[in-house]
């Protein structure tokens, strides 16, 4: 299996790997380790609750899964909190040159992101 330079970069750096905890944080996950792919996102919102301040991920999966999850978490700070990531799975697949047979794994990354965003949107308003 060969990987694009972008995939290798995010797989090797994975600088947003980790967890976030606190009153302004929300968590969402999808997939299952025993099935081969599991992803979790933690989102920390700004005090207004409208924007993402920080994001971290955990991932058990192939290099494409780790790279895409890492990319999403790194790109998240400053973005408005929305249920869906603005870039489609198809666009992410193209950006990272993910083989078509791995499309299901990218959908798990998307599901994890959506679960985290929903959890964040469902948080009780503090202001």
């Amino acid at each position: 299996m060969s990987y694009s330079a972008l995939t290798r970069h995010y797989f090797e750096a994975a600088s947003a790997a980790g967890v976030l905890e606190g009153a302004r944080c929300a968590r969402g996950a999808a997939g299952a380790r025993e099935e081969g792919t599991w992803v979790q996102f933690d989102l920390e919102l700004d005090p207004s609750g409208a924007r993402i301040e920080r994001a971290r991920f955990r991932a058990f999966g192939c290099p494409h899964v780790i790279a895409v999850a890492s990319f999403l978490a790194e790109q998240a700070p400053g973005r408005p909190l929305e249920e869906r990531w603005p870039e489609s799975v198809a666009a992410l697949r193209e950006r990272f040159e993910v083989p078509v047979e791995k499309l299901g794994r990218l959908l798990i990354v998307e599901d994890a992101w959506t679960a985290a965003a929903r959890a964040a949107l469902a948080r009780p308003k503090t202001h």
Binding site: Y3, F11, A14, G36, A59, C62, P63, I66
Partner: protein, 395 residues
């Protein structure tokens, strides 16, 4: 090769996939190619060119035979172990089809045997696939229990290419002789030469497959050893020329055969010291990997060749593990022949490993050029990759 490779080139730890051709072997081979050398057709007995090539082949045949306890006339040169396996299975099945149509093999065999067996099954033969114990071993009485009055062949490998486990071929052959004397015994020994002793007649088997490129010889040449002990008969796969006792027609590839003979002579002369040296390296590798934690050895270590170590690693995903180490070490996940597929190793699954653990497996295979520093570096790289991937996964 580690001692020759420039910085940045991965350390080669995939000798079970193939080995580099020994320089002495390459030199002998090159003597058989050009106008100044033994380029003649070994079948051309009417002139000196053919005779010279024929003499080289006879010498190589003796070396191959000597290495595996056979007689020179029992050596049938083929294009490799895959062809030898196919000749054994199809050759027996076709020739003895009116005697019986049952064949016994194992779920952990190489694809060269399994795919041939599946094809025979498709053509109407009955196959029994034995499942080894969790250590990868097949008991002689397990084989005996599978035999039937219509069994014509038992085909089992000597050294497993993925886990390095050695089968007790002598005991299995004895069990077959007692329970079903009509059944012939074929052994795929592609991984054995240079890693442990091979002895056709001491084992009491009928057919033995060999490959040159696993023992520092060239690719594209192997042999099927056909024992004359019981006058086993085979229907050939190829026709045209009648070479190799009519079992493998086609002009003999002098340079390839000479390379195989030279390579086998070299590994035979260094076998005992090489086994001791590689066993030390493997012990250090096992120690270093086990210290990482969550590293499970595949196959029974008490019955394995020192050259092969397969491990499954908990808490990491297989593809990411390989991607994380591949720039530094050249290892395999499962067999090289099936690594293009996304399926977890069927060998490890047959041993009871889960799909996830089978996928998260690495096969280290050591060889002539492996040095202690290579092992230290490999352990260091795997440790760093596993710790990083477990941290990312929160394992």
């Amino acid at each position: 090769m580690s001692e020759l490779a420039p910085p940045g080139v991965p350390i080669y730890l995939d000798y079970a996939a193939t080995t580099p051709v020994d320089a002495c072997v390459a030199a002998r081979m090159s003597e058989c190619l050009t106008a100044e050398g033994c380029f003649g057709n070994p079948g051309s007995s009417s002139h000196a060119y053919g005779e010279a090539a024929s003499e080289r082949i006879a010498r190589a045949r003796r070396e191959v035979a000597l290495t595996v306890g056979a007689a020179p006339e029992e050596v049938i040169f083929t294009s490799g172990a895959t062809e030898a396996d196919n000749l054994a299975l199809f050759g027996i099945a076709q020739y003895y089809h009116s005697t019986g149509r049952h064949i016994v093999t194992a779920r952990t065999e190489h694809k060269a045997v399994l795919d041939a067996a599946r094809e025979l099954e498709r053509r109407g033969w009955s196959l029994t696939y034995l499942t080894p114990d969790r250590g990868g071993r097949i008991a002689p009485d397990q084989v005996a229990a599978a035999l039937r009055p219509d069994t014509v062949l038992v085909s089992l490998m000597h050294v497993n290419n993925e886990i390095g486990v050695i089968q007790d071929i002598g005991a299995i052959a004895a069990a077959c002789a007692a329970a079903a004397p009509q059944a012939f015994v074929h052994v795929d020994a592609a991984q054995s030469v240079g890693k442990c002793a091979v002895d056709l007649h001491a084992w009491g088997i009928d057919l033995l497959s060999l490959a040159a490129h696993k023992a520092y010889g060239p690719k594209g040449i192997g042999a099927l050893i056909v024992s004359r002990r019981r006058s086993v008969q085979l229907t050939p796969l190829l026709y045209g020329g009648g070479q190799e006792h009519h079992l493998r027609s086609g002009t003999l590839a002098t340079h390839q055969i000479v390379g195989m003979g030279e390579a086998f002579a070299l590994v035979r002369s260094t076998l005992s010291e090489e086994l001791t040296r590689v066993a030390r390296l493997k012990a250090r590798l096992v120690q270093g990997l086990e210290a990482i934690g969550g590293v499970l050895i595949n196959g029974d270590p008490a019955h394995s060749v020192p050259h092969i170590l397969s491990v499954s690693i908990e808490g990491v995903e297989g593809e990411s593990l390989l991607a994380a180490v591949r720039s530094t070490i050249a290892v395999s996940t499962g067999s090289a022949c099936s690594s293009a597929g996304a399926e977890p190793s069927y060998v490890l699954r047959a041993l009871g490993r889960s799909d996830r653990l089978a996928e998260a497996s690495l096969r280290f295979s050591l060889g002539r050029y492996t040095q202690p520093a290579d092992i230290e570096r490999a352990v260091e790289v795997v440790r760093a990759a596993v710790e990083r991937l477990r941290r990312i996964a929160g394992s």
